[in-house]
């Protein structure tokens, strides 16, 4: 068998397994048994647990964006519209993508490592032997938490990013606060807001399902767990950027 044929077979198998996991998770959301306790726990871990990193990255990104774009806008005498640039960039693109990347780093890696180590130590098989479906018990709560908390975290990230931009605009660029905030709101259309809210739903879902898929297919002991964690972060990060591009194209056709 040629190397390409082997690779193609492996890739097809991965896609088949991923789709099968997604279908099983979707079924698990709407049918019993449903592990409420685990769902609440995952909302806390994924949502509340990721808040700090999302706040910090959102704030500094907004601040840096204002600082950089302020000097560029100066060339056109357009420094007062810096708020417009910060809000449009944060809400439409940077907020969802950066929150997504932070979730990959914090949540995706954690899920892959946790499920990976459970797989290699036979804990997943032990769950099955004890009559528990691992998808319902482990995947469904994480997918629900990722799907629903990613938009919340993105909105938080957008807001603190705009606040970061305001601090830089006010104290470094010396743009009046009223001018900054009116420029922020003037730049945003409903289409932008929808785009900024719909994208994180998709990104949150992709990040968690990719991490669960990689974690549950871990082999090769502790070395395998390390490898799975790396794969989950790399695949998750690429998926965030790629999915963001395609969803943006789709939403631009629908919303504008």
């Amino acid at each position: 068998m040629g190397a390409f044929e082997r690779w193609a077979k492996q890739a097809t198998l991965e896609i088949q397994e991923y789709v099968s996991l997604v279908c099983a998770a979707a079924t698990g959301v709407f049918t019993r048994p449903f592990y409420y306790h685990d769902v609440v726990e995952q909302f806390d871990l994924i949502g509340w647990g990721s808040l700090t990193v999302v706040l910090l990255t959102g704030f500094f990104t907004g601040a840096a964006l204002a600082s950089q774009s302020g000097f560029t806008l100066d060339q056109f005498g357009a420094r007062p519209v810096v708020g417009r640039l910060v809000s449009a960039s944060m809400v439409k693109e940077l907020g969802p993508v950066l929150a997504g990347l932070m979730l990959v780093g914090r949540v995706g890696s954690g899920i892959a490592a946790e499920l990976g180590s459970m797989t290699v130590t036979d804990q997943i098989n032990a769950l099955r032997a004890l009559g528990t479906d691992p998808v319902r018990k482990l995947v469904v709560p994480r997918v629900l938490a990722g799907f629903l908390m990613a938009p919340v975290l993105t909105v938080v990230s957008d807001f603190v990013g705009i606040v970061g931009g305001w601090i830089v605009s006010r104290f470094q660029l010396e743009v009046a606060s009223g001018l900054y905030w009116s420029s922020v709101t003037r730049a945003l259309y409903m289409g932008d807001v929808w785009m900024g809210i719909i994208k994180p739903f998709v990104l949150g879902f992709v990040i968690v399902t990719v991490a669960c898929h990689v974690g549950l297919r871990t082999t090769g002991g502790t070395q395998g767990v390390g490898k799975a964690t790396t794969v989950a972060v790399v695949a998750g990060s690429v998926a965030v950027i790629a999915v963001d591009f395609f969803v943006t194209q789709l939403l631009m056709n629908i919303l504008y």
Partner: protein
């Protein structure tokens, strides 16, 4: 005959002593090019012990995974408690697994849960019993294996032998009628291994549990086959030498290259003249 009558008859047959609770019929399994089980057939009778011996990679653990439906055979038929499990889906396997207690090679305890939560896992999560009822059962089971004082410890705080015993407690908490032990004593020192072996013997002789023991530890295999648990007049349990009848209820099979190369009791195994078996025993 109505379906319920057939089910009742099957249940009655399976409740009789010596009924076939696990049947492996010409089972085959391969992973890509590697053939693990070529053609394996055996039967486990109710209340009896089947000890599967063999070198690493001979398909011992794989057989247990096929019985529990964690792996699917490529060919052949597998019956567990009157159900043909080789054609059941994952969801259909769940009720079959309710009567199977599987002890994994390294215990496979849930490392984020305490000993109490591990032992009561199935009852807390998958049964309608109240918390108080489950707690009572957990205490009873941990008392049986002598680890009541470890109830609130995490698995990482236990020794290797204690972890295996907790794994046995977890598997027996929901009172399965068949226990499957996958290398339950491998890596343990002889003294600890004997405490684990004693638990297996007690479960078999006092609770009437049928057992399949996968091991390559000959000393432990012979110990389980040649000892029995008896309760004296004062209610104290002790482990004694097995009677001839009891010894015959422990059957050995040896796997080699995906085939059964020996089947018989401890006596037959010791007297075997097969060079491979002689090498294995020496």
């Amino acid at each position: 005959m109505a379906a319920t009558d057939v089910a009742l008859t099957a249940k009655q047959i399976l409740s009789e002593p010596g009924a076939p609770v696990v049947v492996f019929d010409h089972v085959q399994l391969a992973f890509d090019e590697k053939v693990v089980l070529k053609d394996v057939s055996f039967t486990v009778l109710k209340g009896h012990t089947k000890i599967i011996l063999g070198a690493s990679g001979s398909g011992k653990s794989t057989s247990l995974k096929i019985i529990t439906g964690l792996l699917r055979a490529d060919a052949g038929v597998v019956w567990v408690n009157g159900q043909r499990v080789d054609e059941l889906t994952e969801a259909q396997m769940m009720p079959v697994r309710a009567d199977l207690g599987l002890i994994f090679q390294e215990g496979a305890l849930f490392d984020s849960l305490t000993v109490r939560e591990n032992v009561g896992y199935k009852l807390y999560e998958e049964s309608d019993l109240s918390i108080a009822q489950v707690d009572r059962r957990v205490e009873e089971v941990l008392g049986f294996i002598g680890l009541l004082d470890k109830m609130d410890e995490m698995p990482s705080a236990l020794s290797g032998g204690q972890r295996r015993r907790v794994a046995i407690a977890r598997a027996m908490a929901f009172k399965p009628s068949i226990m499957l032990y996958d290398e339950a004593t491998t890596g343990l020192d002889p003294i600890t291994a004997i405490t684990v072996n004693d638990e297996m013997i007690k479960l078999r002789d006092l609770e009437g549990v049928s057992s399949i023991i996968v091991t390559h530890q000959l000393r432990d295999a012979f110990y389980v086959a040649t000892h029995m648990a008896v309760r004296d007049a004062a209610g104290q349990v002790r482990i004694a030498a097995a009677t001839a009848q009891k010894e015959r209820e422990a059957e050995f099979i040896m796997l080699r290259d995906g085939l059964i190369v020996f089947e018989g009791d401890a006596h037959d195994l010791r007297r075997s003249t097969d060079p491979y078996i002689r090498d294995f025993l020496s």
